[in-house]
């Protein structure tokens, strides 16, 4: 399957989805007015990945900002990831030190989603 490599923009995140490596990464910011269009191909990619996942799957979320329009789409990404079976999956949720809001946002998802989360504090994203 083809990888997704998208450069970030002022309102959309950098996306690196690598099927062969079993890694998916979102970084930067996700604040578009309408997020559904942006996230749709990512959901489709995960769907395809689910047909033949790697033994280990690592999801890295390194967002500096995201808006409420994106928060629903990010939840949809996680829900789609829940449907991927036969892989050892972890979601690494990065947040900058002192950014309690971002930590809490990760905890909100953790409470809803059954995939293991790891909260990782970094000095700077």
């Amino acid at each position: 399957m083809e990888n997704i490599n998208l450069e970030g923009s002022p309102k959309t995140p950098t996306v690196k989805f690598d099927g062969a490596a079993g890694t998916m990464e979102l970084s930067g910011r996700s604040i578009p007015e309408n997020s559904i269009e942006f996230y749709k191909p990512l959901l489709e990619w995960i769907e395809k990945y689910g047909a033949g996942p790697k033994p280990k799957t690592e999801v890295n979320i390194k967002l500096e900002y995201f808006n409420t329009s994106s928060s629903k789409c990010i939840l949809d990404v996680f829900k789609k990831l829940e449907t991927v079976k036969n892989t050892d999956m972890i979601i690494n949720w990065y947040y900058e030190e002192d950014d309690e809001d971002m930590l809490e946002a990760g905890e909100d998802y953790q409470a809803i989603i059954s995939i293991p989360f790891k909260m990782i504090e970094v000095a700077e994203m």
């Binding site: 900002y65 808006n67 409420t68 629903k72 939840l75 002192d98 950014d99 909100d108 809803i112």
Partner: protein, 181 residues
């Protein structure tokens, strides 16, 4: 002639960093957010404060983008999506003020929504956010009701608002959100 000096003094007295009146487009918001981000950088705000202000600003401005209703004829020469916003930096807090026309028929539901959010404490807001996030239907208008909850949660303050009747069908909605420094 408009007294622009008077205007200047008013803005200065009210610590207005940026104000805008007109049509709200996606491109405008991109520019405004970039300007505000560099202003916050130049002020060397704590990263925590900077992030909070930026986050709340994004939600407030995107609320305008998504929810402006048509203004009555004559009130709104710039088209159907004219609004006003200003961002002020006071001694101990920032305030984000927005104003937009809404249909009078929508006043009740918006008032109830804000009142409900204002009645909640931090923990209740967190739970409510999760419920709406998980169950709420996403509309093409954005987060499906998450915006107001998120603004209240991140600002940590009660939301101040008012409605002014313009005519039988239209009201003007003003929102003031404070973010502590």
């Amino acid at each position: 002639m408009i007294d622009i000096f008077d205007f200047y003094n008013k803005m200065e007295r009210n610590n207005i960093m940026l104000s805008f009146k007109g049509g709200v487009t996606s491109e405008l918001l991109t520019s405004i957010l970039q300007i505000m981000e560099s202003k916050l950088d130049n002020l060397e705000e704590q990263p925590k404060t900077k992030k909070k202000v930026f986050n709340v600003l994004v939600e407030c401005l995107q609320n305008l983008y998504h929810h402006i209703d048509e203004a009555p004829y004559g009130e709104n020469p710039l088209g159907g999506n004219s609004a006003i916003f200003m961002i002020c930096r006071h001694e101990d807090h920032y305030s984000i003020n927005t104003g937009n026309f809404i249909m009078a028929a929508n006043v009740k539901i918006l008032r109830e929504r804000i009142d409900a959010v204002n009645a909640m404490d931090k923990e209740e807001l967190k739970e409510y956010y999760k419920i709406v996030l998980n169950n709420g239907e996403m509309s093409n208008k954005g987060g499906g009701g998450l915006g107001i909850i998120d603004i209240a949660r991140k600002s940590g303050q009660k939301l101040e608002y008012s409605f002014q009747q313009v005519d039988d069908a239209t009201s003007f909605f003003s929102l003031n959100v404070k973010v502590a420094q």
